[in-house]
C-alpha cells in the first residue's frame, strides 16, 4: 500500500505534517552523518576511524531513504540532493544536538551516542506508523542503530572509567551535551499532529526509556549525571546554533559550486 494514498478524510491533515516530520528525522541523520564524516582521517586509531566512518555512512543511508520518501510525497520535484544541498539553514529541522562541534573524541562519541540512543526509541515507535515506507525505513535502521549504540556506549564507558584524563574529558562532554538532549523530548504542534495522524511517536513518550539507557551507561562509566536544567534548543523548529551555518557551508559548497554535477 502506498502512503501517498491515505484515507481521503485525513488527507489534508496528514499532508500538512507528513513531510515536515520526515524532514526532522532525515535532517538529524544527515547532519550527524556530516559531523561524523568530518572525523574521517582523524580517528584516534585507524580501526576506530573506519568504525566512525561506517556509522556516518549508515546515518547518511537513513537520510537518503527519508529524503527520497519526503521528496516523492511532497511532489515538488525535489530529490534527496535538492533537499540536502539546496535548503538554507532555517529550513533544516535537526535537533541542535546533531550540529554541535565534534570537540574531542569523548564529546564526539557521547554526542553521537545521545542521538543514536534517541533513534533507537524512535525507530521502535515508528514500526507502528501508518506510513508503511517510514515503518520499513525504521525497521531497517533499527538494526544499524543497535550496533551504533553498542559501539559508542563502549567508548563512553571506557573513557569514563579510564584514566583520570579520559574521565575528566568524558565528564566535561557530558556536562556540555546533556542540556541539548532536552530538545529531543519537547513536543510541538508538528509533533502532536504527527502523533494524532499516527505517523510517529510523540517525542515526550521516548524520554523515559532514553533517560534510563543513558543513566545506565553513565553509571557504568562511573560519571556523574548533571542536574536537569530548563534549557530547550530549537533546531527542530529551524532555529539553530551559531555553528550550524559552517556545517552547512562545508556540506553544500560542492553541490552549489557545480549544480547538477555527477561523478
Amino acid at each position: 500500500m502506498s502512503v501517498s494514498d491515505p484515507p481521503p478524510a485525513q488527507a489534508s491533515a496528514v499532508c500538512a505534517t507528513h513531510v515536515p516530520t520526515l524532514l526532522r528525522y532525515a535532517d538529524g541523520s544527515l547532519v550527524l552523518s556530516q559531523r561524523l564524516a568530518a572525523c574521517c582521517g582523524h580517528g584516534p586509531a585507524l580501526e576506530e576511524d573506519i568504525a566512525l566512518a561506517n556509522i556516518a555512512l549508515d546515518l547518511l543511508g537513513q537520510a537518503r531513504l527519508l529524503f527520497a520518501h519526503a521528496g516523492a510525497l511532497e511532489d515538488q520535484g525535489r530529490d534527496e540532493d535538492a533537499l540536502a544541498f539546496w535548503r538554507v539553514e532555517s529550513e533544516f529541522h535537526n535537533p541542535v544536538l546533531c550540529e554541535l562541534p565534534n570537540g574531542d573524541f569523548a564529546q564526539t562519541c557521547l554526542r553521537a551516542f545521545f542521538y543514536v540512543a534517541w533513534q533507537a526509541e524512535l525507530w521502535a515507535g515508528l514500526t507502528h506508523s501508518v506510513d508503511r515506507t517510514l515503518a520499513a525505513v525504521a525497521q531497517k535502521s533499527a538494526k544499524e542503530t543497535r550496533y551504533h549504540c553498542e559501539h559508542l556506549a563502549a567508548w563512553v564507558v571506557r573513557l569514563g572509567d579510564g584514566t583520570p584524563e579520559s574521565q575528566r574529558r568524558q565528564q566535561r562532554a557530558l556536562d556540555y551535551l546533556y542540556p541539548y538532549a532536552n530538545e529531543l523530548f519537547c513536543d510541538d504542534d508538528t509533533d502532536r499532529a504527527a502523533a494524532a495522524a499516527q505517523l510517529g511517536p510523540l517525542p515526550s513518550t521516548l524520554e523515559a526509556a532514553w533517560r534510563a539507557r543513558i543513566a545506565r551507561v553513565i553509571g557504568e562509566a562511573t560519571l556523574a549525571l548533571p542536574a536537569p536544567v530548563p534549557f530547550y534548543s530549537t533546531g527542530r523548529q529551524g532555529r539553530h546554533s551559531e555553528c550550524f551555518s559552517y556545517v552547512l557551508a562545508e556540506m553544500q559548497a560542492l553541490a552549489r559550486a557545480h549544480p547538477g554535477a555527477t561523478w
Binding site: A45, L46, E47, I50, A51, Y147, E150, A154, R158
Partner: protein, 96 residues
C-alpha cells in the same frame, strides 16, 4: 598525564558462511576483546564477508619458529606412504 601505551594486537578470524571454517583474515589493534570484536566487524566485514568473527590476542598464539622450518617440516617430504594413494577404491566411494 598517564603513561601512553599502544593497544595490543589482535588476530581476526572470519567464517564466511555457515558450515565453513573460520579463516584468518588479518589483524588489528584494540584496547580489549569487546572492542576488538566490534572493530573487526567494522574493518573486515564491511562487504558482508562474514557471519561469525573470532578475535585472539596475537601474543596468546604459540607459533612455530620460521627458523626451525627445515627441522619441523622437511622430514615429511620423503614419506609418500603417509598419503592414502595406494589403495584401490571401490567406484561407489566418490569422496574420501
Amino acid at each position: 598525564m598517564s603513561e601512553r601505551k599502544d593497544w595490543p594486537l589482535w588476530e581476526v578470524f572470519l567464517r564466511s558462511k555457515q558450515g565453513l571454517d573460520h579463516k584468518h583474515c588479518g589483524s588489528l589493534h584494540a584496547p580489549d576483546g569487546q572492542l576488538a570484536l566490534q572493530l573487526a566487524r567494522d574493518v573486515y566485514t564491511r562487504r558482508q564477508e562474514g557471519v561469525s568473527i573470532w578475535v585472539v590476542r596475537a601474543d596468546q598464539i604459540i607459533a612455530s619458529d620460521p627458523a626451525e622450518k627445515a627441522a619441523f617440516f622437511d622430514p615429511m617430504q620423503d614419506k609418500i606412504y603417509r598419503h592414502p594413494t595406494f589403495y584401490e577404491l571401490p567406484d561407489e566411494v566418490n569422496h574420501l
